[in-house]
Amino acid sequence: MSIEVKNLVKIYDDRKVIDNVSFRVNDRETLAIVGFSGSGKSTILKLICGLTERDSGEIITGDGDIAMVFQYSALFDSLNVADNITFALQERRELRKKYSQKDLAEIVSKKLELVGLKGIENKFPSELSGGMQKRVSFARAIVTEPNIILYDEPTAGLDPISSTLIEDYIVRLKEETNAASIVVTHQMSTIRRTADRVIMLYDGKIVYEGTPDDMLKMDNEYTKQFVTASLEGPMKMIA
């Protein structure tokens, strides 16, 4: 199931943080959303997954599940890894009766294997490193076999090697799940390694849309400033 966003508007305190934004992401496609901090990237994800109400516009996502990987993993502190991963299967009424304890254990083992973390079922989030927490949150996100996966700065706060690992898993999950994915990121490596297309936001508007390779050509003054991390250019830090 693809994602279609039409003329999306979100206003906070009389300021349009998302200003008439439209785009589409197809199945098995990964779209990277880039831009300055405060440009409205994470707000778009929150609007798509229903955490925030839009002021106007349309978001078409179909009936399937939407999964989100949060910036700081957002694992449940009081639950161990296995319960974190199977949380939706245990707590959603329509899914609860479908799985026995044995099924749940198998699912946990399978999902952990997919993200390269075997044998940590009984550990608690506080016992894991940042990279491991992120990978567990990937496993939790795909447990309901979602059609859409949203990643909010998946490599934030990770070392370069862990970031590469996470980027590989984003690509792998896309192949395994056939889902449409949106990755909000600042990191060029994440854009290059995971995205099929890129849109760049500034002041709530799309100022660039194209492929990662085209973005690196720096034909556009906005992408040029972003890629070169320059203070000079059309984008000013938004107060």
Partner: protein, 269 residues
């Protein structure tokens, strides 16, 4: 005219009224949030949509982990009252009524109210800070994205555990309080245990026990509901968690006194 308005806005009167209005807005907002959550929780309970595993965990947390502090406070309250009242009453020839007086006080009021205060400080504050932390670390957002209703998952087990466990806590606290009163009366005024317990049952009726248990259930539910609500609507980082916890404690204390007053008027006025 503009200068006058500008001058007025700098005045102490304006600032006082503005402060009162802001406080009133926050008060009404919080009251509204608690009412909305009460309706939601009631709906889930009536529909039987309860996370049993979570309910068991919360019952243990509410009922068992709080016992040492609750029983200690109840016992110490009785010791304080008995040590001041028993000797004086014995001196005035009213020794035969010490037990009755203490039991009425403990069963009708002190057992439930002191237990509620202990629960607020221990369980209510931890519930509020836990849920507020979940809010600021996006764990509640994660619950929502996973299509699990956060009110059903977080509020219902906690509120139900309060309603179920609080009467048991109050029964134990009252029992300990009555015993502590007997020991203190004996030590401070030389009142025999027999004299204490002979009069102890004279002033207590089945109605008192019933009201006390009903009241404690309301206390338990109210503490959990207020604490969860204050945590749920927390915002910001560590400061937001601290503010939510303080708010939960203050609101719970006030709610307990109001509920207690309503019960007193309804059943004993």
């Amino acid at each position: 005219m503009i200068t006058l308005a500008k001058y007025y806005r700098q005045s102490a009167t304006y600032r006082i009224f503005k402060g009162i209005l802001e406080d009133l807005t926050v008060f009404m907002e919080t009251l509204g949030q608690i009412t909305v959550q009460l309706c939601q929780v009631s709906k889930f309970i009536l529909k039987g949509e309860i996370s049993w595993k979570e309910l068991m965990e919360q019952c243990y947390r509410y009922g068992i982990t709080s016992l040492p502090i609750t029983l200690s406070i109840s016992a110490m309250t009785s010791i304080i009252i008995a040590s001041q009242v028993a000797a004086e009453m014995v001196k005035q020839g009213g020794g035969n009524f010490v037990g009755m007086l203490l039991v009425i006080l403990i069963v009708r009021e002190a057992g439930a109210v002191m237990s509620a205060f202990a629960i607020i400080s221990m369980i209510g504050s931890s519930m509020a800070s836990e849920i507020a932390t979940m809010r600021v670390t996006e764990q509640i957002d994660a619950i929502t994205v996973l299509k699990v209703n956060p009110v059903r998952y977080l509020f219902v087990p906690r509120v139900l555990s309060g309603i179920i466990m609080m009467p048991f806590i109050v029964i134990l606290a009252s029992f300990v309080g009555v015993l502590a009163g007997a020991v203190t009366s004996d030590l401070s005024a030389g009142l025999s245990y027999r004299a204490y317990f002979d009069s102890a049952w004279l002033g207590v009726y089945i109605k008192d026990l019933f009201v006390s248990l009903l009241k404690s259930s309301c206390f338990g539910g109210a503490i959990a509901l207020i604490s969860c609500t204050c945590g749920y609507y927390a915002s910001g980082g560590a400061k937001g968690v601290g503010l939510a916890t303080t708010k939960a404690v203050v609101w719970s204390f006030v709610a307990i006194v109001i509920i207690d007053m309503i019960f007193a008027i309804a059943f004993f006025y």
